[in-house]
């Protein structure tokens, strides 16, 4: 038997304390963004926050839950649709944006027993079918007027600069909440279960991990996050066109960000979102070639750089910014 006193388990390291404090400080500084960023950058950084949410949610689903979905645009579109519906029903527009993710999360909870029975590729396309169905059903709503769509009229009551700042703060708040939720989840017992399932579902079940309930937690969280991103995107675009919101391109973006940043790492999707944001800012105008680049990068990263930028760096240097895992220390 090994002497148990020779080993100790540590979760926090100096690096992770600095990283967490740094992240908290960054978010605190960003909270004052609208006062120093100017109109253009306030809008752009709002978009970046939305990308971070999308990437972090898709990563939680695929990187930790082992569930590759090509249908997360379903929740993105439904989040925006629920805001339109609630606002039309007299709910104040920013309250509607806050409530929409909760309603979509409940819907995901109802869907989960069916969806989570599907494995691998079945789940991937099954979710896409769900997105298509959600899109068609939303089109049937008279308020939406089919593919013509409608506008979030109520938000026009705010002056443009007020709206821009509000959107920014809501996006920053949502990003912080979802990052914190994923962080807490991964540090909890569920986090250990989740990673066990990702690595080997049968083996995890055999040692007593509650596979289905763990997957369901992740599935519902990811749905809520994507719904929040959809609701926030609606707040910046104002017009709701079902075709735009239920487009599979949103999932393509999520996959690109997660793969490039690093699937199955906490830091990776955030880095991926920043990379995507920069690529989009530089190449955005060139349309088709930009999408071809995204698809080709997803292919190249999945085959040759499966850990992505952050995973590769982290594995080389042993640095882990977020105290999510466990470090086993041996004393001499």
């Amino acid at each position: 038997m090994t002497d148990v006193r020779m080993v100790s388990v540590r979760r926090w390291s100096t690096v992770s304390v600095v990283a967490i404090s740094g992240l908290a400080a960054l978010i605190a500084i960003l909270a004052f963004g609208p006062s120093f960023l100017g109109a253009y950058w306030t809008g752009r950084i709002t978009t970046l926050f939305i990308y971070v949410i999308l990437a972090v949610m898709w990563n939680a689903l695929a990187g930790y839950g082992g569930l590759v979905s090509v249908g997360q645009q379903a929740f993105f579109g439904l989040g925006a649709y629920v805001v339109i519906r609630l606002s039309n029903g007299g709910v104040p527009v920013y309250s509607a944006i806050a409530i929409a993710p909760v309603i979509v999360a409940l819907l995901a909870l109802v869907l989960s027993p069916l969806a989570l029975r599907l494995r691998g590729g079945e789940f991937a396309i099954g979710m896409w079918v769900f997105a298509e169905l959600a899109h068609l059903l939303v089109n049937l709503d008279g308020l939406i007027q089919g593919e013509t769509g409608t506008s979030l009229v109520a938000i026009s009551a705010f002056a443009p600069e007020v709206r821009r700042a509000n959107n920014y703060w809501f996006a920053l708040g949502a990003m912080t909440i979802f990052l914190a939720l994923v962080f807490v989840l991964l540090r909890s017992r569920t986090g250990a279960s989740v990673q066990a399932i990702r690595d080997n579902e049968e083996a995890a079940a055999s040692v007593g991990v509650r596979v289905l309930s763990t997957k369901r937690t992740i599935f519902v969280l990811a749905a809520a996050g994507c719904a929040a991103a959809g609701a926030l995107t609606l707040s910046t675009l104002i017009t709701f066109q079902p075709k735009t919101f239920f487009s599979v391109q949103w999932t393509a973006y999520m996959i690109f960000m997660t793969l490039v940043g690093g699937l199955g790492t906490f830091e990776g999707p955030i880095i991926g979102a920043v990379v995507f944001f920069i690529v989009e800012s530089l190449l955005g105008a060139s349309g088709v070639w930009y999408l071809i680049t995204l698809g080709a990068s997803a292919l190249v990263f999945s085959l040759w750089v499966p850990r992505g930028i952050w995973g590769t760096l982290s594995a080389r240097s042993g640095v882990q910014l977020m105290p999510i895992g466990y470090r086993l220390l041996f004393r001499k």
Binding site: L114, R117, L118, G120, G121, T214, I292, L299, L303, P306
Partner: protein, 298 residues
Amino acid sequence: MIDQIVQGVLLGGYYALIACGLSFMYGVMRIINLAHGSLAVLAAFLVWYITEHFAMSPFIALLIVIPIMAAAGWLLQRTVLDRSLRSGPLTPLLSTFGIAIVIDNLLFERFGADTRSLAPDIGDLSYKSWTLPGGVTVGQLGLLTLATAVVLIVGLQLFLKYAPLGRAIRATAEDRDTAELMGIDSRAVYGAAAAIALGTVAIAGAFLGMRSAFDPYAGGAQLIFAFEAVVIGGTGSLWGTLLGAIALGVAQNLGAELNPQGFLIAGHVLFFCVLAVRFFAAGGFSSGWLKALRRQPA
């Protein structure tokens, strides 16, 4: 009503054509190829391009496109799928999704947003029909599509059962490692299987172009139809895929009767109903799910 069902069965013929390659590849390699629909649209564009530029019948153009697509399938297996298979269960999904985006947008870059059709190139076949007693019309093209699907599926079944390569494919699908021990080169077998799957995709692409208009972004919808047919019919059997395809076509045509938007909705609803039936048949809420709810979450 009878008419709608007959038309639905004929439509199912096309879905069976597009689905059998997906079903075959899944059966052999356990890969759901997310680029399947995009590859079918690529094949449709190839047939269209050859037909237009060399003024030949789409059927002759198809004879040229089948080996091209088969070669592309072999190449796809060698360069992407083989590597994906070795990197874990999620990788094939991610890499083939990347390929789908690249194909869709390259087609858009080359051919633009215009919709194309092969219907003008097949003369009166595109609209000629027979009228059955009772006033039900049976389109010649629809019947040809269904017949092609049945012949293809019978052919694939016979090939898998009797041909040496077919037997090697079944052995490899059953247990890759043991098949290797028996002297089967599994990489070559997988390459051949991918080539066959994309050969059927070429045929499906040609019929897609003959029966309707298509554009560079039509691939996603074809993938979904193919997948729905496979799931409704029950994965793992080509005959099941044919039945699933016919059920999908019938459901869509009946849905269209109810509502102009009902065509697609009915297909998706049937898909989820089949999933729900499978869910309850497997014990549903009583086994596991509700129990897990009652317990404290982990």
